[in-house]
């Protein structure tokens, strides 16, 4: 009996040994090699200044990026992936990427372990593309102090920020001023709604998502009143959060069902705040059934393709210029731990070389409303329209901005509540 077991064990070990022996040397390949011309840079906000060490090399620059969702989600992760690819095209660099970096899809993987793998492959800069990777980004930055890193959407490098980590001198933050994108999205919705009720499909509740919901609401109110001549207080705006950046079956709410509920509650324009396109897709399906519905997706410039006829446009991130700037700063040794909240290029918000935030109009937006939207964008750009001006109250009735008061960056960034007039629970926790 014992000998039988011994033989079995030896046999399995032998098999593994054969496999191991056949595996050859330790050389390996990397993926997605690209080359291209010169890059451009964008402006940055304040931040702290400690230089991280970089190693001069004649090899192509390598950038690693961890994506929280799938790289082809028609949403947030795809915007990062394509932005990073574009950036590497511009500077002749190579991209190393890995998607689905979240505990539900990859329970055995941690962001810091993936970052280490990327560094071992030669990544000279590692980007964590999600707020959800905060702890992993901190751990990776601590464990690899010589490697410049970027935590997208975070505030760890903002001296005035609540999560400021002065010790992490190799960890930058970058984010786009999507508040403007959401204002434009809200305006398109406010111009189009026939029922006077808008629905917002929210991800999870935190300062960032409340900030974006508030911005969409303010944009909708402004355009409803100023371009349509209707009373802004009559405009209804309902938000439901699913619990995460994208739907996870059995964990989050069902995004499609939430869209159905919002539409059944009277909303005829759905605004999406999640990383994927259920708001547009489901609204499109119901519109095909004869309902008068429209939608505004989010994040990715081609997102309208999922249901173009009802799409009012999409506010999107164009990460390429920011990644070019960050990569160049690593290459020339000027990388510092900075917090950057990048605005649109108001001269042309859809300029791929210069604008981090853009808005592409959809087929569902009428030409008349398109003209109003252009006026609105121009007003935001020249500063004649400032929607974060008092009086504004929080959802619980307390004052956010007094009469004549305008919000500072830090007040907008840390939006503690939804604004008064928004229906839905936004302040859990």
């Amino acid at each position: 009996m014992l000998s039988k077991r011994l033989i079995q064990m030896l046999a399995v070990l032998l098999a593994f040994a054969l496999v191991a022996a056949a595996c050859g040397d330790s050389s390996s390949d990397t993926t997605a090699t690209t080359t291209g011309g010169g890059g451009t840079t964008t402006t940055t906000d304040g931040g702290t200044a400690t230089t991280a060490t970089t190693t001069p090399s004649t090899d192509p620059f390598k950038m690693g990026i961890l994506l929280v969702g799938p790289e082809f989600d028609q949403g947030y992760s795809q915007a990062h992936f394509e932005g990073a690819e574009w950036a590497m095209d511009q500077i002749g660099g190579e991209l190393i990427s890995l998607d689905f970096i979240n505990p539900a899809d990859n329970p055995g993987l941690t962001p810091e372990a993936v970052a280490k793998d990327m560094i071992d492959q030669g990544a000279q800069m590692v980007v964590f593309n999600s707020d959800d990777m905060r702890d992993g980004a901190f751990a990776a930055a601590e464990q690899n102090p010589e490697t410049p890193m970027v935590w997208v959407s975070g505030d760890s490098a903002w001296a005035d920020g609540r999560a400021y980590r002065a010790d992490l001198t190799n960890l930058s933050n970058v984010w786009g001023q999507m508040t403007f994108g959401k204002m434009i999205a809200g305006c398109a919705a406010g111009l189009t709604t026939q029922t006077g009720k808008l629905g917002y499909l929210g991800p999870l509740t935190n300062d960032e998502t409340r900030r974006l919901v508030n911005s969409a609401y303010l944009g909708a109110q402004y355009c409803y009143e100023n371009y349509r001549g209707l009373d802004a207080s009559d405009l209804e705006f309902a938000v439901t959060y699913i619990g995460f950046w994208f739907e996870i079956p059995g964990v989050t709410l069902d995004a499609t069902q939430v869209v159905n509920d919002l539409i059944d509650g009277g909303a005829d324009v759905m605004l999406s705040g999640i990383d994927t396109t259920q708001a547009l897709v489901r609204s499109g399906q119901r519109a095909d059934g004869g309902e008068a519905l429209w939608a505004v997706p989010y994040d990715f410039e081609d997102a309208c393709q999922e249901a173009p006829s009802i799409c009012l446009g999409v506010p999107y991130f164009n990460w390429g210029p920011a990644y070019v700037d960050l990569a160049n700063s690593v290459i020339d040794g000027s990388f510092t731990a900075t917090w950057e909240w990048l605005p649109p290029d108001w001269a042309d918000i859809n300029n791929v070389n210069t604008s981090t935030i853009g808005y592409i109009k959809g087929d569902g937006l009428s030409s008349e409303n398109g003209a109003f939207l252009d006026q609105f964008i121009a007003g935001l750009g020249d500063g004649s329209i400032n929607l974060y001006a008092g009086p504004l109250n929080w959802q619980d009735g307390s004052s956010f901005l007094g009469d004549g008061e305008t919000a500072t960056d830090i007040q907008i960034w840390y939006s503690e509540q939804c604004l008064e007039g928004i229906e839905g629970v936004c302040d859990l926790g």
């Binding site: 993926t31 998607d99 619990g243 964990v251 926790g429």
Partner: protein, 354 residues
């Protein structure tokens, strides 16, 4: 006869190797490189070379819950029970452990002991519930366990998004990290916890001893093989079934504890990592033998941690690691089953001829 035994032992290994290489070739790789990358991504290449301690630590800490859950499942399988509810037992162990980690403030050694104890109790109670439903309510343990898996997962989500949510945040991404003193002590710069390894090995040795050297284990086996006969022989079968669920649940609870305070350092919705389901495959492959759990679960841990390399290095989706894992299990079970069948037939033929 010895050559036949060697042949029948090599056949399963051969089937596994052929199936694995067939799959990898079909996926457009050269067959060898993905396996090397999985090894490299989990324990380094050459294995355990300098600078791979972080990877090794992660792999070991994935191995711990799989091995603990597998050890527990050996008990319930021997009792004739399909404990599908082990996922819920892992989750409930993590919840109990998280509660103590968040709420209790005592010296670190005592805190760690309390957390592990709480995790074991949480898993044990959830396992006991499956057993009670089975013995007192007549609810098949597969359905009862599956239902309780969902309940445990829902409780986790509720806790994370509401009472234990991060300040100002309602997200299913997880709770705030636990305090440092509540985390399993680990080697510097890694997750590798010697304490977790020791607990796991002791648990496996204990299960081996249970079925090799105790009357309790023998009676448990008897209950699993033939419950009516065992009952007629005077064995209180229901009590033994409940005992099996208690033991398995406790080990699963410790597995969940390891996930919470040894790997993720917080409570997350996917805290079980589906390692309970994976452990079922491990036990089936190990054919209910305790010590085989060690290498087989380590192999699965290597795939879980190392398969990301397929996408990073070969641009092959890392989901291939899961497909590879399933293929290996099925092919190994086929090979082992076929070899056992042939071996038995040959033995019967030999007996008839003498």
């Amino acid at each position: 006869m010895t050559s036949n035994r060697l042949l029948y032992a090599l056949i399963p290994a051969g089937v596994v190797v052929v199936a694995a290489f067939g799959l990898l070739l079909a996926a457009g790789t050269n067959g060898f490189e993905p396996i090397k990358l999985i090894v490299e991504g989990s324990i380094g290449w050459p294995p355990f070379e300098e600078g791979t301690s972080s990877k090794v630590g992660d792999t070991v800490m994935v191995w711990v819950p799989i091995a603990l859950a597998s050890a527990g499942l050996i008990v319930t399988f021997n009792a004739g029970m399909w404990n599908i509810g082990i996922e819920g037992q892992i989750i409930m162990g993590a919840i109990f452990a998280a509660f103590v980690a968040r709420e209790v403030s005592v010296s670190r050694p005592l805190l760690i002991a309390l957390i592990i104890l709480a995790g074991a109790v949480g898993g044990m109670l959830w396992g006991l519930l499956v057993g009670v439903l089975r013995t007192a309510g007549g609810v098949n343990e597969i359905f009862g366990g599956l239902g309780l898996d969902f309940v445990a997962a829902s409780i986790t989500t509720y806790l994370i998004i509401d009472p234990w949510s991060r300040t100002g945040v309602a997200s299913t991404s997880g709770t705030d990290p636990f305090p440092d003193e509540a985390l399993l002590p680990s080697l510097e710069g890694t997750r590798l916890s010697p304490l977790a390894i020791v607990i796991t090995l002791v648990a496996i040795a204990g299960i081996w001893l249970l079925f090799r050297g105790t009357l309790y284990g023998l009676k448990l086996k008897a209950v699993g093989r033939n419950r009516p006969s065992s009952f007629l022989m005077g064995i209180p079968t229901n009590r033994y079934l409940l005992g099996a669920f208690v033991i398995c649940g406790a080990l699963a609870g410790i597995a969940g504890t390891s996930q919470a305070i040894g790997f993720h350092f917080r409570l997350i919705p996917a805290i079980s990592g589906n390692y309970g389901f994976l452990a079922i495959l491990v036990v089936l492959l190990a054919r209910f033998r305790a010590f085989w759990v060690i290498p087989i679960s380590f192999f699965f841990a290597m795939i879980a941690v190392g398969s990301s390399q397929l996408q990073l290095r070969l641009d092959v989706n890392s989901a291939l690691g899961g497909v590879l894992q399933g293929t290996l299990v099925l092919s190994a079970m086929f090979g082992l089953g076929w070899a056992a069948h042939r071996f038995r037939k040959q033995a019967e033929a030999g007996a008839e001829s003498t």
